[in-house]
């Protein structure tokens, strides 16, 4: 056995993009696409020779050889599925806002979470994946009294779920700025911009630092280090405005261009959350295989 078998629940746009990313993985093998009815997504998977079920999670639970499951459905669906996956001994990587397990941002806390006894991790939000690394980059050297992020995504890349539950984005991201980003208080703002052609995802992070004596060079270096770490799994993650210090406020902006696996390149928001999920999946799979990465 040289690859860990994995499944995706939810053959929509996110699930399809995830599938292409997993197909490139060294440690994971796309063993099952799980839907609840025949759809473009299930046909797409079939076309690529991937086993498909349209009978939902019950079929998945019968596949004892599947060890990791990516949940790309809705918060309600994952809340219902999580205990079943746990019982079946499957590790859940949750891309919904359900947050059954702890928030995970690869460059901040993946190592720590892997040492913990958890088999369910949550991907926060797309905006969280793009901004929390930067919040953390600042707070780890200068502390953070307050962290605020503004994410702007193209209207076309915001799915029905995001649109119908936009408060989930602001509330979840704000909480993760605190829990993962290390700021005492967090605030998140999201803007949907309809410009044509669609704009790349842009993100601005503001942090009110605690240590006013912190050498600015340390903050700059920390940010550059984190940006290069994120670039390892999201090549289109670009620093747009390098850190600016204004009193005790640090401002930094990044742009996220997607890899265009299945979704268009302007959907950097969807690319980064999927890339983060696959990054985590690879690490978990490598560990199961007894390989350090």
């Amino acid at each position: 056995m040289d690859k860990i078998k994995v499944a995706i629940i939810g053959p929509g746009n996110i699930g399809s993009d995830l599938m292409y990313k997993i197909m490139r993985s060294k440690y994971m093998e796309m063993a099952l696409m799980v839907g609840i009815k025949e759809s473009e997504g299930t046909k797409r998977a079939e076309g690529l020779g991937i086993p498909v079920t349209i009978n939902g999670i019950q079929d998945l639970l019968g596949h004892k050889d599947i060890k990791i499951v990516f949940e790309a459905t809705s918060a309600a669906a994952h809340a219902a599925n999580a205990p079943l996956l746990h019982e079946a001994g499957m590790f859940a990587i949750d891309l919904t806002p359900a947050a059954v397990g702890p928030y995970m941002v690869p460059v901040v806390n993946l190592d720590k979470l892997l040492q913990m006894d958890t088999d369910n991790i949550n991907l926060v939000t797309c905006g969280g994946q793009a901004t929390i690394p930067l919040v953390y980059a600042v707070t780890r050297v200068a502390g953070g009294e307050y962290g605020e992020i503004v994410s702007c995504i193209s209207s076309k890349s915001a799915g029905v779920g995001t649109r119908a539950n936009i408060d989930e984005f602001t509330e979840t991201t704000a909480k993760a700025i605190e829990v993962v980003g290390g700021a005492d208080r967090g605030k998140a703002i999201i803007i949907l911009n309809p410009a044509e052609p669609p704009l790349m995802m842009t993100n601005t992070v503001y942090v009110k630092i605690k240590d006013k004596n912190c050498e600015f060079k340390k903050i700059e270096d920390s940010v550059l280090d984190i940006v290069s770490q994120v670039q390892k799994y999201v090549p289109g993650y670009k620093l747009k405005v390098p850190p600016i210090l204004d009193g005790d406020k640090v401002t930094v902006s990044v742009e996220v261009e997607g890899q265009g696996d299945f979704l268009p390149k302007y959907s950097g928001n969807l690319d980064i959350i999927n890339a983060a999920a696959v990054q985590a999946g690879d690490r978990i799979a490598a560990r199961m295989l007894g390989k350090g990465e």
């Binding site: 503004v150 649109r163 408060d167 602001t170 803007i191 949907l192 410009a195 842009t202």
Partner: protein, 333 residues
């Protein structure tokens, strides 16, 4: 008497932009009470960017917003007391807290093409018996047909009226008329209009909206507001009276309020200066004005260049962070 026109005064919300969100409890009480006594139908209060707008991105509020809502609620007896809520900034949890302070109306605002992000907020507000406005911003960036579809969505969520905002003060009277006419034909609920004066057309555009079927109009005392400011509520009182429309407005009380309370608040002339004119000309969100001036100074750029680039990039309401990006990129050229 002519038809009844309802007036929403947003001195305590849009006006907040002009004074960098520094309203105090005492100012809110005095202005709120005077507006109520002067007969406006809806008094809007909040950070300029709506509830929970207090931030690095839009500027921090000097006084806790919920204390301001409670202060306003303690003096407003007749008018509806409303806040603005932009989904993506404010949430239902924030709205619940405002309702607990005595706020009984909300205007849920989205970009002109993004009405569907307001569904949960409008439905929730109706479920607690609030008076709810579906508020569509930056109307110049879309077409009458497409705007009508967005208005219908907000109507379907339960909005009590639809307000169309020329947030950039970019529209000409005939364009305003075309949009209002189309929306009026598409929905069964009343339609309103919110103007900015960047091209000197705020009052004229408001009249064009009324002629096209609008029955709710926005104003601020002394025109206090983002960019070159809004339609002046006291001017509306005079003009609507000359037109023979029915309102509850008392012109003298509005004039007194302006002289005694609002004029002394102004820390810069509320006029069409070159930057606000350029906002209107380039079609950029009016609340960018003071942020652009600050960024221009910090990065030593011409504010007009920043505005033109923001317009070229298609930036919309709420994207104040991109002002820094544009100024930074221009400074590197």
């Amino acid at each position: 008497m002519g038809k009844r026109i309802y007036v929403a005064d947003t001195t305590l919300r849009d006006g907040s932009h002009s004074i960098a969100h520094t309203y105090s409890i005492e100012q809110v009480k005095r202005i709120g009470q005077a507006l109520d006594e002067a007969g406006v139908d809806l008094i809007e209060i909040s950070h300029g960017d709506g509830i929970a707008g207090s931030s690095y991105n839009y500027g921090f509020q000097k006084t806790d917003e919920y204390e301001l809502y409670s202060a306003a609620a303690s003096v407003v007896k007749n008018a509806k007391l409303g806040i603005l809520l932009l989904p993506g900034i404010g949430t239902i949890e924030d709205l619940k807290k405002a309702a607990a302070c005595g706020v009984n109306a909300v205007r849920v605002a989205t970009h002109i093409t993004e009405a569907d992000i307001s569904a949960q907020h409008i439905k929730f507000a109706k479920s607690i018996n609030m008076f709810v406005t579906g508020f569509l911003m930056l109307a110049h960036m879309s077409t009458p047909e497409a705007i009508s579809e967005q208005a219908k969505l907000m109507e379907s969520y339960g909005a009590d009226y639809i307000n169309i905002a020329d947030s950039a003060g970019h529209m000409l009277p005939e364009q305003v008329a075309a949009v209002i006419k189309a929306v009026k034909a598409a929905v069964a609920i009343p339609v309103g209009f919110h103007a900015h004066n960047n091209l000197g057309l705020a009052t004229g555009n408001t009249l064009a909206a009324i002629d096209a079927g609008a029955t709710w109009v926005d104003g601020t005392i002394g025109g206090l507001g983002a960019g070159a400011g809004n339609t002046q509520t006291e001017v509306l009182a005079a003009v609507l009276s000359l037109r023979g429309y029915e309102t509850n407005l008392n012109l003298y009380k509005l004039l007194d309020l302006d002289e005694q309370e609002v004029e002394p608040l102004k820390n810069h002339p509320q006029v069409i200066d070159s930057t606000s004119l350029m906002l209107g000309y380039a079609g950029v969100y009016s609340s960018f004005l003071l942020h652009v001036k600050r960024a221009a100074e910090k990065f030593k750029q011409d504010p007009r260049d920043i505005l033109v680039e923001l317009g070229r990039r298609g930036m919309i309401g709420g994207q104040e962070d991109m002002i820094i990006d544009v100024a930074y990129q221009l400074s590197k050229k």
